[in-house]
């Protein structure tokens, strides 16, 4: 049953009027009018409440250009400090999709440094987010584990491009580690591509990547290929919209995820007479929902319980105030003889001072409880990296030096090509350059990144 709002509960107080129509029911507490008591209290509380809520900072207006990188950086420039990483993530993904590697690298490096700092040292903002009267979204955003893993995944692509497969491998390992403390161990560290690429990088560096390959195969829904040590082209493909965050539960205290089904569920690359299948090796939505409960969920649950209990206390106290107020007035009829000598029946109101005081006390308690319940903030943080993909795919292939026209076709669940999303581009493979030899003596790979995710 919905609880009456505070304003409504206040109206439940009996307010009979005097002859002038002015509320006067609680007046004889002693020699002071109760209306004079309640009025300043109510005014004070309302003024404090309203004053407290007027300090919300105004959001600067952004003039949108339609360019996701320009607009994202404009948002980043005016975003509160707690949202900086969120905007850096968004700008980085957009920059990577538009081939602006330096921008993506700078944003990801800054965001990951901020994330590492936030995890290393508990900030006052993070501590406040745990308190009853502050929202979880007051903490600096660093993302849920699936978001941090995606930051690693994107940064690793840039390391591959820079000819540093071991640093890329470090981030694949970090991504799996971030996912390793799930509530249900079945889903711990179950990203497929990071494991597969960990082993691939190891093989490229002259090591043994079979353990990582075995882990990837165990978690994959599709048969994973063996490593091709002679491959010189790596293509990373993503499609579908990633998960959204929702606040569920009575007070929005439960963090939930929703992923809109992607029309594209697989892709195929045709280049230089080769057709390369690109199945969805990883589902980011799946990674979001298989984490299990967070410690923060317990804190938010406690906040919700506090909110509910204080709200109930307010209801009970206000109801008690009504009962006490009504019982404080007792009408009594008696017969009197008027000046004209006639008998008349008059009604007198007897006031019970104790009950009136109880009514006022309960009213104040109820009001405070209601205000306290209103101030509690159990809502889960639903800020989300909202331009992530749903599916991740990858392939390694061999191409000779030269320019190769390529076609990337996306397919729906029925296996039908999504013609409007087909991408045609040219893959340029440079001649081997002895100055760009990787650590293990391999020529540096050509790393392609293609996305179906709209801006």
């Amino acid at each position: 049953m919905p609880r009456p709002p505070v304003r409504h509960a206040l109206r439940l107080l009996p307010l009979p009027t005097n002859s002038a129509g002015i509320p006067a029911v609680l007046h004889p507490l002693s020699s002071v009018s109760s209306s004079r008591l309640l009025s300043p209290v109510s005014c004070f509380l309302l003024s404090v409440a309203l004053a407290g809520c007027t300090t919300v900072p105004t959001v600067p207006v952004i003039t949108y250009t339609g360019d996701p990188i320009v607009d994202g950086k404009a948002q980043l420039a005016v975003a509160p400090a707690k949202d900086r990483v969120l905007w850096q993530y968004r700008v980085a993904a957009a920059a990577l999709r538009h081939g602006q590697d330096a921008e993506a690298r700078a944003q990801l490096d800054d965001a990951q440094a901020a994330t590492a700092g936030a995890l290393a040292v508990s900030s006052p903002e993070a501590a406040r987010a745990r308190s009853t009267f502050h929202a979880e979204s007051d903490k600096p955003f660093i993302g849920e584990p699936y978001e941090r893993a995606m930051a690693d995944y994107y940064r690793a692509i840039l390391y591959w491009r820079a000819g540093e497969p071991d640093n890329a491998r470090a981030l694949y390992r970090d991504a799996e580690l971030i996912d390793s403390d799930t509530a249900e161990k079945t889903y711990a560290g179950d990203w497929v591509l990071p494991d597969w690429l960990d082993g691939y990088a190891t093989a490229r560096l002259g090591g043994d990547g079979t353990d990582a390959l075995a882990r990837a195969r165990k978690n994959s829904a599709h048969p994973l290929p063996d490593y091709d040590p002679a491959a010189n082209v790596l293509i990373f493909v993503e499609f579908g919209r990633g998960p959204r965050k929702l606040a569920g539960g009575e007070y929005g205290e439960q963090l939930r995820f929703s992923t809109e089904p992607s029309r594209a569920v697989s892709a195929r690359l045709t280049v230089a007479g080769q057709t390369i299948a690109l199945p969805p090796w990883d589902d980011v939505g799946w990674q979001a929902i298989t984490r299990g409960g967070r410690v923060m969920d317990h804190i938010l649950g406690n906040k919700a319980v506090f909110k509910k209990n204080t709200d109930t206390l307010g209801d009970v106290a206000l109801a008690g105030a009504v009962i006490a107020a009504e019982s404080s007035r007792r009408e009594k009829q008696r017969t009197v003889i008027g000046p004209d000598g006639k008998k008349r029946v008059v009604t007198e109101v007897e006031r019970d001072r104790g009950s009136e005081q109880t009514a006022v006390a309960l009213g104040v308690v109820g009001l405070l409880a209601k205000l306290t319940a209103g101030a509690a903030q159990p809502t889960a943080d639903t800020r989300a990296w909202d331009n992530l993909p749903q599916y991740l795919s990858f392939a390694a292939l061999r191409l000779p030096p030269g320019a190769h026209p390529a076609t990337l076709t996306y397919y729906d669940a029925a296996g039908q090509p999504l013609a409007s999303r087909t991408q045609m581009f040219t893959v340029n493979i440079p001649a081997p350059d002895p100055t760009t030899i990787s650590d293990a003596g391999h020529p540096r790979e050509t790393v392609l990144f293609r996305s179906e995710v709209p801006d």
């Binding site: 008591l37 509160p80 040292v121 501590a127 009267f133 940064r155 470090a170 971030i178 101030a375």
Partner: protein, 213 residues
Amino acid sequence: MNTHPRHCRNYVLYASLAAAASLAGCATQGVQNPAGAPVTEMRPDERGRVAGTGVESQDMVAVTDKMARKILEIPEIANAKTPPRIVLEPVVNNTRFTVNKDIFLTKIRTQLNEKASGKVRFLDRAMMATLEREQRLKQQGLVTATADPNVTEFRGADYFLTGTLEGMSTRTTQGMSDYVLYSFRLTDARTSDIVWESSLDIKKEGLEDAAYR
């Protein structure tokens, strides 16, 4: 006449205090340290305020200090009649942390060059393309030369110095633990003997704020 008896005033006082306390949460939308924190200069071997469980400057300093000292103690260096020539090979990162791999070897090289008084020489292979171009210009007579440019004087390596960073990480709801083993070795270029090897291991643990768990 006093129209506000004591208990009435108390109601107002209590109500005011309680209301202010309960509503205080609404008014704290501001930013902590809005003016930021002043920049603090620290020694690179000092553990900073934002230390995490990863590879940090104090680890790098500890590792490179130890390696530079140890290299000077090995007989092949200490007793060599002519300074051995060393080529640095990139460190292999096998941890979950991204690192600037050059920084370890650069630090070791500069320390040895500063403290070894010419007991070792490092060959600048990163400059080879530039050096070869310069040699071609000399051979073509386009620039002056103080020695016969047709005689190859680029030196070969006596030793290769390289290293690896190996890591082992654990993450549970109880916290994060990272163990990193830094190992460096000097390999004889002629025989492939590892003439020296040393390591330093560092373990760190941390527990993230519950707001992020």
